[in-house]
């Protein structure tokens, strides 16, 4: 039981999540077995998830050791996720073009360490090009920021 395997970690995470849902679910009316309320199905599903999580943990010994899992790409992963989380609030404040411009420039210059010219050309091309394609030609509504950008 001392060895952490991929299944043991995932099972523990899922079990914690299901316990969290069960805790939060107490705010919802449960109804009765014959007439279920809005809290009935989430509770049932959270209990099922808890059961499967415990089964996963119980059989986790055969799974791959956690130490054997390679995480070499984690720096890229963190940077990309950071960009996604940045893009969400920025879209309606900076507008689509500026948000994508900043995000792509960050990836290419900071993460991929490309030159200024390549970074600028790619970031401008992608942000303004996709805006033109989707907003202007395909009429997909995209947000505009300061100065109508």
């Amino acid at each position: 039981m001392n060895v952490w395997t991929t299944d043991r970690l995932a099972g523990a995470g899922l079990a914690l999540f299901s316990l969290g849902v069960i805790w939060e679910n107490r705010k919802l009316p449960m109804g009765t077995l014959r007439e279920p309320g809005p809290g009935y199905m989430p509770l049932l599903l959270a209990l099922l998830l808890l059961l499967f999580s415990l089964l996963i943990i119980a059989a986790a010994g055969e799974a791959q050791r956690l130490r054997a899992t390679s995480w070499t790409e984690w720096r890229h992963a963190v940077a990309i996720l950071g960009i996604c989380f940045f893009a969400a609030p920025a879209l309606e404040r900076l507008g689509y073009r500026l948000t994508i411009l900043v995000a792509l420039a960050f990836v290419l210059k900071v993460v991929e360490r490309k030159g200024w010219v390549a970074t600028a050309a790619f970031a401008f091309g992608m942000s303004f090009g996709t805006f033109f394609l989707f907003e202007t030609l395909l009429r997909v509504p995209l947000p505009r920021g300061p100065f109508g950008l």
Binding site: G37, P42, F52, K114, V140
Partner: protein
């Protein structure tokens, strides 16, 4: 029969209209690109292009999105054969013998057999879809809420049983998806669940941010920072024709792959992926020289490629006839139909015959377009892979943000996509499958509503699920599958899924990219 031909005539009159033809062509081209590019599977491709269809009518939108779906099935084989990189998950098996054929100097024939096999399978399976969907839809009119409960539970159990890896892990993922599907308004009482004051969550968690996050973003998180792709082989047009022996060896696998793929496609789950594994195992079992498999056997390309294209049409059967998606991709297509005011299900064929038969006819046209497109232009598509990945993945991320935002003009959806990307990345690193989560999110509201309506019908008696023959039969089959999955554990007996490479391998998610 005469009625079917009349309907098909109606369908072709819709599908051959210049505008619809154009959208079928555009869908096929985009689909091929999506299939060729590693990191953008058909699911992410369809999700991202969904907002671009908002200005179109339902027929054109559906024809375009379906074109992307089967175009991706064609395109995925190109990179599998030439670079040993599956453009999408259903092409994993093609890598083995397709790439071996390339190494043996037979890349052209491998591509030609894959394209012809895909064309034959695609066309034959559309005939089967045309024949099977209308009677199934008539039968489904007898379905009430208890039958839908049986059908949905069976669907989830089949998905878990047929998926790679252990059933408990797949069921845990399905339960997680169902739980995520509980977020939002409870339609029977008007209660808001797990919304925490976020207005956008009132309508629940959307399928598009979940699908793009779990498949598109997580794929980029896994593959960015990895080694550069290998050398790209570029076949010439004159190298494409297969030899007479290669044709002879391919007809049987193409025929078997077509039949197998269609019927596996109907079953809920990652059907097109499973069909390729089963087809490959079957061809190897039937071969007089199984030792050739892995060394460049043309049967190892013909069978799986036919099977995955046939499964694509098969997966439309439950979606169109029952209104129940057989997997994550039909689920997104179904969401797209609903956005356009079309309700897939038993009444679709009766109420919107032009849309249904136009869609069927467009699939014939699309398959022909793909055959013409794929062979002569293969060199052009392969050039895409010469784009350095450090430029490609930021572009894909930009498309993900754009596509997800544009569906509802909601920044909350972009946040959900990012969170799902993180979840998908972690789960895939830990060898879990994410497809059941997507299906769970889609099915959750329907399942809950059906359970509660059933209980309202029966005055609170759960016996309604076993008193009605169709519901009882569906639940019985589900129970049987559950017991079947336990059988190898109890007896330590051979599991047929292991024999065909389905069990114990995280094949859908961890394939070489």
């Amino acid at each position: 029969m005469l009625e079917t031909f009349q309907n098909l005539y109606l369908g072709f009159s819709v599908a051959l209209a210049p505008a619809v033809l154009l959208y079928a062509f555009v869908g096929c081209v985009i689909g091929t690109l999506v299939g060729v590019l590693p990191g953008v599977g058909p699911l992410a491709g369809i999700s991202l292009l969904l907002p671009a269809t908002f200005g179109l009518d339902a027929t054109k939108a559906l024809v375009l999105l379906a074109g992307i779906y089967y175009g991706a099935m064609y395109g995925g084989s190109t990179t599998s054969i030439l670079m040993r990189i599956p453009g999408e998950t259903a092409s994993v098996m093609t890598c083995i013998d397709g790439y071996a054929m390339t190494r043996n100097g037979r890349a052209g024939p491998a591509l030609a057999i894959a394209a012809v096999g895909s064309y034959i399978a695609g066309t034959v399976s559309v005939v089967a879809l045309m024949v099977l969907a209308p009677p199934l839809a008539s039968f489904a009119l007898r379905f009430g809420p208890p039958e839908y409960v049986g059908l949905l539970l069976l669907g989830l159990l089949v998905l878990a049983y047929m998926s790679g890896g252990s059933m408990r892990k797949s069921l845990a993922m399905a339960a997680l998806g169902l739980l995520l599907g509980m977020v939002g308004l409870d339609h029977m009482t008007g209660f808001l669940r797990f919304a925490y004051g976020v207005m956008e969550l009132g309508d629940g968690i959307g399928i598009v941010p979940v699908a793009v996050g779990l498949f598109g973003v997580s794929e980029i998180l896994l593959s960015a920072g990895q080694a550069t792709p290998p050398e790209v082989f570029k076949p010439r047009l004159r190298d494409l024709p297969p030899s007479r022996q290669e044709w002879r060896d391919s007809w049987g696998p193409i025929g078997r792959g077509t039949v197998l793929g269609f019927f596996i496609g109907i079953i809920p789950g990652s059907a097109h992926v499973i069909s390729t594994f089963v087809s490959y195992a079957l061809e190897r079992r039937l071969s007089k020289h199984p030792e050739r498999f892995g060394q460049g056997a043309v049967e190892g390309v013909a069978g799986p490629e036919s099977a995955n294209n046939s499964a694509t049409s098969g997966s439309f059967v439950p979606m169109l006839a029952l209104g129940v998606p057989a997997g994550a991709i039909p689920a997104v297509l179904m969401a797209a139909m609903m956005v356009h005011g079309v309700s897939p299900g038993p009444l679709l064929i009766e109420q919107q015959p032009a849309l249904f038969w136009g869609f069927i006819a467009s699939m014939y046209v699309g398959n022909l377009v793909l055959l013409i497109l794929n062979l002569p232009l293969v060199g052009l598509f392969v050039n895409l892979l010469r784009i350095p990945y450090h430029f490609l993945y930021p572009a894909i991320i930009a498309f993900c943000v754009l596509g997800v935002y544009a569906v509802n003009s909601s920044v909350v959806d972009v946040l959900i996509m990012a969170a799902m990307g993180l979840l998908g990345y972690l789960l895939r690193k830990l060898n879990f499958e994410v497809a059941p989560i997507v299906l769970g999110v889609v099915l959750a509201p329907l399942l809950e509503m059906s359970v509660r309506q059933s209980l309202a019908m029966s005055g609170g008696s759960y016996a309604i699920f076993i008193e009605r023959p169709i519901a009882a039969s569906l639940l019985l089959v589900g129970l049987g599958l559950l017991l079947l999955s336990l059988w190898p554990l109890l007896r330590r007996a051979g599991d047929w899924r292991r024999a065909v490479g389905l069990a114990g391998q995280p094949m859908f998610e961890e394939e070489e990219k």
